[in-house]
């Protein structure tokens, strides 16, 4: 990786390089095999999906992909998922950064106690809060709205934790200098800390986005209008409409994974740097 400090253990002899490549390639195949099966199954006909073989024996059914778009408003679902996950990510990154700044850089009485309360809530199973949260959504009139999916997911203790650890690693001298110049706390946050936290923010953004793009149960119980379904919920259509259309399900999943892979490939350098700069120092 270009910007990462290379820390390959230097004594490894050159000749072992290709063997190492070979070993890792084999392991990668192990990681890819289920996906290969998924992609191949998405090209089978309904009758073939149950067969033990991997290959679609009767030729590729590219039509499955077109069929996905016909059976469900696939693009609509993807757009819903992307926009909802996008809002959650943006809000979570921003509010977590603010809170993390407060926890990491501002001294106020009771700060650490509040922080540990935050941490403690991470340990509570989400299922307990589901009913109570749902009642709140009903009271606020947010059932079957985008806002109802965005709001509850947008304020996380995890994000605050991650970013706090990260900001602790940024040298204090920088913001002290700014403070001497008379900058307000907001200026310090917005002009000094935020730009320096970039890799940490990207890391949190990716983790949040991935998690939210795939969340299932909350959107399931929240949404009523089909046109507002997110992708994981929309995939249920394949369980009912044509029986269990495993081949179409596989085609849809294959397509739904694609944006995530693109996102990851684009941002992986930032991601590694984000964590490496001290985000997880206990």
């Amino acid at each position: 990786m270009g910007t990462a400090t290379p820390t390959t253990e230097p004594s490894a002899p050159r000749s072992r390089g290709l063997g190492l490549h070979g070993l890792i390639t084999l392991l990668s195949l192990g990681m890819m095999a289920p996906f290969a099966w998924m992609a191949l199954a998405s090209l089978k006909s309904l009758a073939e999906v149950g067969d033990p073989g991997w290959m679609p024996a009767a030729g590729f059914h590219w039509g499955n992909y077109a069929e996905v778009f016909r059976v469900i408003p696939f693009l609509r679902f993807v757009a819903n998922s992307l926009v909802i996950a996008g809002w959650v990510t943006l809000l979570q990154v921003f509010t977590s950064a603010l809170a993390a700044f407060s926890f990491a850089r501002l001294d106020w009485p009771g700060r650490d106690r509040v922080f540990f309360l935050y941490l403690g809530t991470m340990m509570l199973p989400g299922l307990v809060m589901l009913i109570a949260n749902y009642q709140i959504m009903v009271r606020l009139g947010l059932v079957d709205t985008y806002l109802g999916l965005v709001l509850p997911a947008s304020f996380s203790a995890f994000g605050t934790f991650l970013l706090r650890q990260f900001m602790l690693g940024i040298p204090r001298a920088l913001d002290e200098a700014a403070e001497i110049d008379g900058a307000s706390k907001w200026r310090i946050f917005w002009d000094v800390i935020l730009p320096l936290s970039r890799p940490g923010l990207v890391t949190l953004a990716i983790f949040t986005f991935m998690g939210n793009y795939q969340s299932f149960f909350w959107p399931l119980v929240m949404m009523k209008t089909v046109d507002k379904y997110t992708l994981p919920v929309g995939l249920l259509f394949f369980d009912t409409d044509h029986g269990q259309a495993t081949h179409l399900l596989m085609a849809a999943v294959t397509m739904s994974v694609a944006p995530l892979i693109v996102l990851f490939v684009l941002l992986q350098r930032q991601l590694i740097r984000g964590i490496q700069l001290g985000a997880v120092k206990g």
């Binding site: 253990e9 490894a12 990668s28 809170a99 109570a132 001497i180 892979i261």
Partner: protein
């Protein structure tokens, strides 16, 4: 620099916190408080909701006392803990993957040519496949092409493509992964058993050919392996005690580790449960006593709980290993008789005994290339290069370099991963059980979170479900606290 009043500092601090804390209160704290109150009531949402208003009754600790005698709860708690055994191995897997990927990481990466080459090769082979029809052998061709492409791209990008590939399982986390693995585990048509069955046929014919080797040799080998492992473990404990690296509680934990499989072995060999537990505990106590009564004439005194975190982790890893070796001892003698009928590959998700290990294997596959690997990769590149250079000057072996530099330097990351792993492990399993096994067979894969779901949302007893969830919370909390107390200190050593 102007001096700010405490009041003003407080105000500014809270102002920054406000957006997050407002949402946090609304969507976490209030539901939390509600669910806490629920745990002490008999709230059943079938009887109390918008349409029905049966009076809510405070039952005090009633839900909790009911939980104590609920066999389902204890079974599911056991299942949840059992599934957690995979955690150390998953962490080791992530670490291994990160080490491998890190070794290959180069300075420059040529993504453009790599992408172009990969596209070309894949497109060409796709055309070949389309022309040649789809025989089942095509899959070998496909995998060959994939391997070649990955290798080519790996060499061109100096390994960064592998990172994406290892991270692949994370992209389909959830339903898709579970459906996939259900297919892979299919007892008759799944690829896993299709590969295993010929192998098992070979083994069974080998056993039939040389019954003595397996009926006597395997138990002996298993016993020897187990003894070696235990001896190594105890000697290591003694050395750590002598070096003042481990306190008394670490020694006790370390001695208990091998005692647990021993207890199960004795019970399996026909001893009554209580007796085998007593013997195992006595053995552990003896070992701990023998080690801890050695005087420590030199070196600093160390606290009673020094090194506890490491010993807990090692004991957890030791138990399954010993269990496998001891299983060889137990089943070895009966092997020839079984081989007469031929060995059957397991019915993975359908069999009581194999369903949990099957889920663990899947979880480990998913965990190796997960966020954990990314965290380890970052941790690895944070280690100052000078440390390795200094070690090279001293002529350190690769093993020494790992144990003396890499492992201690990665301790904070390991700590973070372990805490998050425990939290997720204890709360997890709901989606997996829902999609793959419906908690079966015979409840062997019902985790606590699935129990909360069925109690809360199928039978409507929210009060009881909340009580279970809070017990779960207490468990996670205590474990995390221990982890903070002992794991963290070790990490900062």
């Amino acid at each position: 620099m102007k001096v700010q009043s405490a009041r003003r500092r407080c105000l500014v601090g809270v102002a920054f916190l406000l957006p997050n804390i407002a949402g946090f209160c609304a969507f976490t704290l209030i539901p939390l408080a509600l669910s806490f109150m629920m745990a002490f009531t008999d709230w059943d949402f079938l009887r109390r909701n918008v349409f029905r208003h049966d009076p809510l009754q405070w039952v005090g600790l009633g839900n909790f006392t009911r939980l104590l005698v609920d066999t389902q709860f204890w079974r599911d708690l056991g299942n949840t803990c059992f599934l957690m055994i995979g955690l150390p191995f998953a962490i080791a897997g992530s670490l291994g993957a990160a080490l491998l990927l890190n070794r290959i990481g180069g300075r420059r990466c040529r993504t453009g040519p790599a992408l172009a080459a990969a596209t070309l090769v894949l497109a060409a082979s796709g055309l070949v496949l389309l022309r040649g029809g789809m025989p089942e052998t095509g899959v070998w061709f496909l995998f060959g092409v994939l391997a070649a492409t990955v290798l080519l791209a790996g060499v061109l990008t100096r390994g960064s493509v592998y990172r994406t590939l290892f991270y692949l399982p994370h992209f389909t986390a959830g339903v898709a992964t579970y459906v996939l693995w259900k297919k892979l585990y299919h007892p008759t048509s799944g690829p896993i058993n299709l590969a295993l069955n010929p192998l098992l046929d070979q083994v069974s014919s080998a056993v039939r050919f040389m019954p003595g080797l397996f009926s006597i040799g395997l138990p002996l080998a298993g016993a020897a392996g187990a003894l070696t492992l235990v001896a190594w473990h105890l000697l290591r404990l003694r050395r750590r005690w002598d070096d003042s690296e481990a306190g008394i509680s670490a020694i006790v934990t370390g001695s208990l580790g091998p005692a647990i499989p021993l207890g199960f072995l004795l019970a399996r060999l026909g001893l009554p449960g209580a007796a085998s537990a007593a013997v195992a505990l006595a053995a552990a106590a003896l070992a701990a006593a023998l080690i801890s009564r050695r005087p420590r004439p030199w070196g600093p005194k160390c606290a009673a709980d020094a090194g506890l975190g490491l010993e807990v982790a090692l004991a957890l890893a030791l138990i399954p290993l010993l269990a496998i070796l001891l299983a060889c001892v137990v089943i070895g003698p009966s092997l020839p008789a079984r081989a007469q009928a031929g060995f059957e590959a397991p019915d993975w998700l359908g069999d009581y005994g194999s369903a949990k290990p099957a889920l663990m294997i899947m979880a480990m596959w998913a965990a190796i290339g997960s966020n954990n690997m990314i965290l380890y990769l970052a941790g690895l590149s944070n280690i100052p290069q000078e440390l390795y250079e200094a070690a090279d000057m001293d002529g350190a072996s690769p093993r020494q370099r790992f144990w003396n530099i890499t492992w201690p330097q990665l301790a904070p990351v390991t700590f973070f991963i372990a805490v998050m792993g425990v939290i997720e492990g204890l709360q997890g399993g709901f989606e997996m059980a829902r999609t793959m096994t419906a908690g079966g067979p015979a409840g062997s894969t019902t985790t606590l979170s699935y129990f909360v779901y069925t109690e809360g949302f199928e039978t409507g007893r929210l009060g009881y479900a909340a009580a279970v969830a809070w017990v779960l919370f207490a468990l996670v909390f205590v474990l995390s606290l221990l982890n903070f107390r002992y794991g963290n200190r070790n990490a900062n050593d």
